[in-house]
Amino acid sequence: MKLIKLALLASLALSLALTGGTAQTNAEDDVVPIIHPSQPALTPVQVKWIFLGDMTYWPGGGQIRVLINNDTEAYENFTRKYLGVSARQTDTQWVYRQIRDGLVQPRKVSSVVIKMMVSRSKIFIGFIRRSQLDKTVKVAL
């Protein structure tokens, strides 16, 4: 009986140790804004303004090119967390900027493309899931 209990406990402990990674995976599902490693970090307000079209130039100069993730869930999570509005409201804001200032709408591309473009050129900013981070890009905040 003791042996059975030990086996059960060990199995359960081992399983929890592995499946408990699911909790970590949830954290890695979190979306984060990314920029080129050479760009200086931004404040949360600057990130908000950039993705709403209110800020179109990097503090050090040069136009900002915003990339929107075509993962709708990631898009919604990102806008709720960092911009305080929904994805739909963000789209509306870009229509507003297009008509008011002639800004071109941001591209909607996949996370893979976002990471590739941000890593190659410091003019871009986008957002991906935290689990997709690597040394070619850095978190904007």
Partner: protein, 498 residues
Amino acid sequence: MKIAMVAWATAASLLLMSTGLAAQKKKQAPFTKDNTNAMDDLTADEKKGVRIADEVTANDIEEKRFNISGFVDFQYQNALYNDSRNIATTYMKKNKHFSLNNLNLYFKFMIDPGWDVFNEIRFMFAPTGIKTAKATQNASGLILNIKMSPFENSGYDNQVVAFRYGSISIERSYIEWNHFGFFQVRGGQFFTPVGIWSQDHGAPVVTSIRVPVTSNNVLPAIGMPVSQTGLELFGKVNAGGMVQIDYAAYVSNGQSIAQSVDDEADGSWAVGAFLNMKMSWSRVDWNIGGSGYRGRRSDIYSEYSIPMYLITSGGSLDLMPYALKQLDEYNHYQLDYFACAHMKLTFTGLPGNSAITLQGEYIHQWVNELNAGKLRSSLTLPIRALRYMADTLYGQIEWNFLGIVTPYFRFEYMVHGNRHVQYQMLYNSMKYYLGGLNIKITPRVVFKAEFGYADLGTSKNIALIPDLSGVFTGSAVALPFRRDNDFKIIQASISAAF
């Protein structure tokens, strides 16, 4: 039994372990430059995206070099007023009607890094129909009366625009150098940077159908131009990460391009500036600022053989600029000024995923008329110098739900003094109450419905009529009647950005 229990426990553990490993494998590090094996995990679209991204070098600007966009605005309007002599008849049809208010196209060319060319063209026509000119002559051949329809139907911005043959209006057109965000230069025709609404341009983005009185030319003689032709320096400066300063300074001809010819005749200039401080703090977005303008312009006034304005049997005043023998012309100069203060507060993160926006503007405009000079000899006296002014303001509140539905309410007020002898305003003040609903069917398609009530008061003030010699000496004639100038407007519109 013991063996079975152990076997069951082991199988359960293995099942759980495989589930956890599978989940982790799904969240494995995605494709990286060095991890070519991960390409096998990508979908066809993602592989295509990788090939696209590979084409982007560090110096490329991944943008369309030529971009066409714009908006269109379709409207239903029903103006209601009791008195047929109401001054509102000057500006809008009483009967219910549809109209295509705006078809605006934007052409943006990114010609080189840091250099853009931007054009906005509005296609204009008279959706309520064009009245053909019809003249009545007496036995001596003197034209007594001409009926014309000189005004384009007012669009979303309520501009009473002189009809332009060819039906094209260049709203904006400029070349822009914009390498730095904090310092940019544009030359060409640009919107006058004042307040909030002058630059919140376009029917799909403006909350209401009607644009506040602060955004219009209050009086024809008070020259706050909607757009100007000149040179503008502008930019945005980040101060401390939570504050952004927007500024603009310009020198121009002052009036719109349509009137720039007159201004060029005397070489006068207009100068102005705009400043806005934007802050985001604790779920409140602030925009506070001010603007100012000083411009000189010249106009040419003509003197005719008989009074220019006649009261018809119907009690309205008819303008007859083309029916009379011209006696003389005057060069007329004036200095136009305006000073504006604006504010916009947005409270986000409210219950029901809503946001409340409060905004308001106040503009003080005034004009100093300078000496007039005769262009031709005449026995008549020159026009007297006058000074007059106007104050306009509005306050608006809107409550946005889910980014889709926005009820709004606005109060507008306008008062002017010392009416110009040559511009007949039959009311000294106006109050306008407006309430409506804005529904964003999609981010690009907007439906609006609103009800407006204008209180222009009754015409207790007199009209200024020139004497029989055609000189505007300021003599006045009391109108033989009083008008009820209040009116109501029901409007609905659908606008789309593309």
